[in-house]
Amino acid sequence: MLSKAASLGGDVAGVIVGSGVEGLAEQAGRHGAATVYVADDARLEAPLPQPRVDAIAQLVTEKQIETVLFAQSILAADVASGLAARLEAGLNWQLTDIAADGGTLVGKQSALGDSVVVDVGWRSTPRIGLFRSGVFDPAEQVAAGAVERFEPELQEHSLAAEMVEQAHAEESGPSIEDAKVIVAGGRGLGEPEKFALIEELAKALGGAVAATRAVVDAGWYPYSTQVGQTGKTVSPTLYVACGISGAIQHKVGMQSSKTIVAINKDPNAPIFEFADLGVVGDLHAIVPKLTELLQARGS
């Protein structure tokens, strides 16, 4: 986000709000923030949105900041929205890009299930934008930014909610909804034991394992991994479908994956209609070999 902002011209500042977060300031500077504003306050320790609205609103007003950009997260979305209401500012979300255009900014919004791209603008400042995570590549800058602390004044209603127990990053593999890579198995596997092939391929790709309704129904794999109409809806960067025909109930759960690779022995399987790469062949031969090749590459 910082790198993108830096590419738009103008002064770019990073804002870090939290408790014990000063160490992050240097990193922010490296990615293009000329100034890094830091509010380090014990009351900001829990990842709750409302005190952050107070802090950022105060900063935006004091420093006359024109544009506030966020990378999507559950916390960032709530902060951005609260901030919009506090500052009477426009908020655009689901942004995938932003560009300077004759003194103002124009965002690219992916809308209606990615079926249309909307150019969105802001009618006043401050402008607030919420970007899909991972749409920009970070760029390293030589100069480090200057760190400037500020003391936020927190409002009463912002402190009303309190964190009773805070989550910690889970150590197990990614859940399928968050996974960037998913390898999925269907009835074409033939028997439950063959899910081992899928698991190994997923491991080699650093991804998660998913299953179709048919095999979950048959008790081959747990329901929590089911992708489709009654299971989870996923949109990873890469979806590898093994032995999956692509029935409608499965398709609706995975069709927005960025790249789909399908391996199926039935050349008429509907999945070949929407896979980016369709391989007609025996998955029992192809998948182990693929895993082997990927492991060789990785090592």
Binding site: P49, Q50, S81, G90, S115, V116, D119, F274, L290, L293
Partner: protein, 259 residues
Amino acid sequence: MKIAVCVKEVPDATAHKRIDPGTKRLDRSGEGALNAFDANAVEEALRLRDAAGDGEVVVVSMGPERALNSLRKALAMGADRAVLVADDAAAGSDLLATSLTLAKALEREQPDLVLFGQQSSDSDGAVLWAAVAERLRRPVISQVAELTLEGGSLTGKRQTEFGYDTIRAPLPAVVAVADSINEPRYPSLKGIMGAKSKPQETLSLADLGVDASLAGEQGSRTEVLALSDPPPRGEIRKLEDDGTAAEQIVAFLAEKRLI
């Protein structure tokens, strides 16, 4: 216990959704339906009301007059009454304008708890509650997958990118529920037959004391400038395994910079 559930009519999930190139707004001329995620919020409200033994569930919405048809689904499920802000001047509202109008409608109701669904299926928005909570100056908890009420406070367990948080807040409060929180009930036949005769109120901006300049497109601070097609999905490649399929897949993944 008075619970307000903010709901929205969206184009039916199966309708071909498009943005009208003329108005640059979502074409809502087709079939409408209650936003499916809102059914979870209605369900949670009904459970809380029924557990408390008394109270009222009121659904609050903004939209064209005909959105009452969709609100009736919530009434058929068991909500007690519906309030719809229907005013031509409110059409085209962005987040800012919507949150203002909705907050005014909620102030009029003075509920102990305001519930939202996880997102709207038309705008993919998942932000409105925070803006409304800010206007109402009440605590907000989003993505709540488990909600308990005790005395004057509520506790929500929610899933984040890192696992589960547990957050407590005093009432009155604003909560957005995740769709995993419950399984919405089917309206019973008696519920469907009785929905039509439950109180359904339509309000104008003037009824709420909202200046028309702060609503609709006029009151919005964002705008749609242009529409375009997304970049085309790359060509579809299909190959028959001649013994080198695994190699070809690796080459394909490398070409796409996926490995």
